[in-house]
Symmetry: C2
Subunit: 491 residues, 2 copies
């Protein structure tokens, strides 16, 4: 009994995973599998039931499992050139040369003010919240100033998102999310907050004319019809939807919803009194000029009253983990002008505060000038980041064009969404077919992509390629391997 | 309707509180009351019900309210010498001169390794966990080495405690806590974790012979009888107790449970299969040689198996907020050898990670040598801290001796627990009588102590004095004011 439990724990650990951005499975993290587990001495089955709470195991069960397979496969390195290439974790490794020297410099010139050792305002230091507001106004191109008191900074986007949702919905109520979606949302919203996910299915893209291998972005736009349908479905399942969570720019699709689509969603939410949370964690990674990205905050700003005039139903979450590749600093931020949740959010944030020391560092980064007097450090950094993202994105897009593989021509984020339906095996359930294809790509061709099923995509055969998680050499090799794969399959 | 809601929000904000250590009410934090709240335009009662979740308001309601009165009173400062003295917030301000230059130096010499920008292991960097283990082994005087893989570092003691309890008990199950207890435990364990508090009442001290004004420590020791009684009471209230949370050294009492008392508690917990969480956040602030403090980890270590041999029912939480006065860095740690919660704890901790940058800083602090080759930086720091605590403790104890006010002769922590029953007004309920006394001390004599009722003390008339939250001048004035008060009341 005891033994089988440990076995099951270990299996959990192996599977525990982790879609795109889950810390434990990137190259920097130690695997939970490696941790030592203690002998249990003489416990009985009855005792085993008491040594942990069922919700603990359930929380772990919420994590995606596809990387378990990847872990069983040799990873690519200079000494293992045939190992699998990591193209599935949403990490941007193109910015290290800019970040490391700057952070070292910022850190070395930090004075440590006496007040920083003591308890801070739970929502964050005032000067840091002001710096965050100024940064967001600039980066999101807002035409009115934010209210720094509407900002709460916490230990990561997941942490502030969890508290925001706890403040807006009761356990068992629903968070609507357009599919496909970032796999870790399920852990963030269900594990402790106790919410339910109500997926929003958008139009299938085969309904569009296809003249090229470019999937039309429109195929994935939510609208009144798809939102209404999702509400109906959710209610039929006994779940009352209270929140719509939008990933904008969209992960895993790598696209931006155009302003008219966003405005329709905003209007719908306000009419239905459903909270709209816009997750704009990739807003500083919009790398194409024609992306047509406009922040939900700008589109929802009514100009009525103070600050942006968002009213109680519009909220933003953001973090430095993607646009700055600073996931290790755990700096997230939320913004809301809803007066009823202001105090609860500040108080709940006490359970996920950012170190004063890191607040000081990041405040410095966000407020530093650059060598060019017309451009701040963050603006210069962002311009370089866009250039590098565009170069990688272009290269991957060209490869797909050349191969005639349908894909979404991304404009933002770190990914390309690809349609590999052509390569699905004929037999089996949807899940089995996609899993076979995933394993073939991984084991036979050394390509580790994020499978669409882990992101709740409706149809099997879609994959997300993260084009920033590899070195230049690895990225080039990835393109070669993909060509080899397609040629092998078609010949 | 809308207006009244805003009024109620503001009132909440004013009352929101906070016992001893809640960030929002110390002198460094901005008050939530000062935050700007937006106009709501034309919302209806039905709409109001949708703009926030009931659990948000409930969470705020868990915070203690006594400081609302304090906020209405002028605070002491050089320009307001008649203002009230802050002797209620558990902050140690005696260490600033040691900390600020050292942290500035540690910070300025920090290299920023490239791997620190990316996602870290969710349970903390390996080198930091090893440094934390070595520090705890030394500070807690453990005779066997800890397993660094049993450590999870998270954003504060409250954060790791919450996840530990979530992993050990289901919503609605009980956490037993001996009274009086740290007021914020209720927020930490109820707001999101959904647990219930089951108080453990210890013997009343009037059952002891009183030859002096010294309250016997024994009056507050839990034992098999009081624990059994608490279980019975909890079950009668429909709450199944799964955890016993021990504050050791005890806040607010300022005492340590002797080894035989702790051993009895450990045995009882193991027999009953109730998890024992020892909160040893003040273990580095044991300032008297005769304190007889022994860590629960040392007493529970069986030597069986690997690491300490604690088995699945013994767990520790710790943080740097008290012994190092570094509450602003939000560095908490938990330790457990329970294999079933290892992975859940690592994963849940993703929602309250410590910045890599602060992990690097604190690792440096914990591993630095001092000028004396035989003493590490933390050992030298601790010796100085003990000296200063003892000096303040002695002075306050002497004042109470001189005045003949019964008190617990503390040996650890930042407080003295005082019996002011003599000064309670005769009429009214227990709560009313204590509140009148509290307000008299505050408003007429400028003494802000923590009232026992906010810490769920059974009897009215007890107060906690925090003797480290004031400057030397303020502390001296506090002693003068107390003398003045007692003389005024007795004359």
């Amino acid at each position: 009994m005891v033994k089988s439990e440990f076995t099951s724990l270990s299996r959990n650990a192996e599977h525990m995973s982790v879609g795109s951005n889950c810390p434990s499975w990137n190259r920097h993290a130690t695997s939970a599998v490696q941790t030592r587990l203690y002998h249990s001495t003489g416990s009985t089955p009855a005792e085993d039931d008491r040594i942990s709470a069922p919700r603990a195991a359930k929380a772990v069960g919420l994590l995606p499992t596809y990387l378990a397979d990847a872990r069983a496969v040799e990873q690519y390195s200079l000494s293992t050139p045939n190992g699998a290439l990591q193209l599935s974790v949403a990490e941007n490794q193109l910015l290290e040369d800019l970040l490391v020297p700057s952070l070292t410099e910022f850190s070395s010139t930090l004075a440590f003010p006496a007040d920083a050792i003591y308890y801070q305002p739970t929502q964050g230091r005032e000067s840091f919240r002001k710096a965050m507001a100024a940064y967001l106004e600039d980066m999101l191109k807002l035409s009115k100033p934010m209210d720094a008191d509407g900002i709460v900074v916490g230990a990561g986007c997941n942490a502030v998102l969890e508290n925001l949702c706890i403040s807006l919905a009761e356990p068992g109520e629903g968070v609507m999310i357009p599919t496909p979606y970032y796999a870790a949302f399920e852990f963030d919203l269900v594990a402790r907050a106790g919410l339910s996910i109500s997926p929003v299915t958008t139009m299938e893209y085969q309904d569009f004319d296809r003249e090229s291998n470019i999937i039309p972005h429109e195929a994935y736009y939510p609208n009144r019809a798809s939102l209404d349908a999702a509400v109906k479905m959710s209610l039929a399942n006994g779940v009352n939807p209270r929140i719509l969570l939008l990933s904008h720019p969209q992960n895993p699709l790598g696209i931006c919803y155009p302003p008219e689509v966003v405005s329709e969603i905003i209007d719908w939410c306000r009419e239905k009194k459903i909270h709209l949370i816009t997750d704009e964690i990739y807003a500083g990674s919009v790398y194409r000029d024609d992306a047509n990205f406009v922040s939900v905050l700008e589109l929802a700003s009514t100009g009525d009253g103070e600050a942006l005039g968002l009213g109680p139903y519009i909220h933003l979450v953001y973090a430095l983990s993607k646009d700055f590749a600073l996931s290790g600093l755990r700096v997230g931020a939320l913004y809301s002008e809803n007066p009823k949740i202001r105090v609860p959010l500040q108080k709940l944030n006490d359970l996920c505060c950012i170190s004063s020391h890191t607040q000081l560092l990041v405040e410095k980064m966000l407020t530093t000038a650059s060598d060019d007097p017309n451009v701040s450090w963050t603006q210069g950094f962002r311009a370089t980041s866009h250039e590098r993202l565009r170069k990688r994105g272009d290269a991957w897009h060209s490869t797909l064009d050349e191969l005639g593989i349908p894909y979404l021509k991304g404009t933002a984020g770190l990914f390309v969404w690809m349609d590999f339906q052509e390569f699905l095996p004929a037999m089996g359930s949807d899940d089995e077919r996609e899993r076979k294809l995933y394993l073939e790509l991984l084991k036979e061709f050394g390509l580790l992509f994020t499978p669409g099923s882990s992101m709740k995509n409706e149809k099997p055969g879609f994959f997300r390629c993260v084009f920033t998680a590899a070195s230049n050499e690895e990225f080039d090799l990835g393109m070669k391997r993909l060509k080899k794969y397609v040629h092998a399959k078609r010949s």
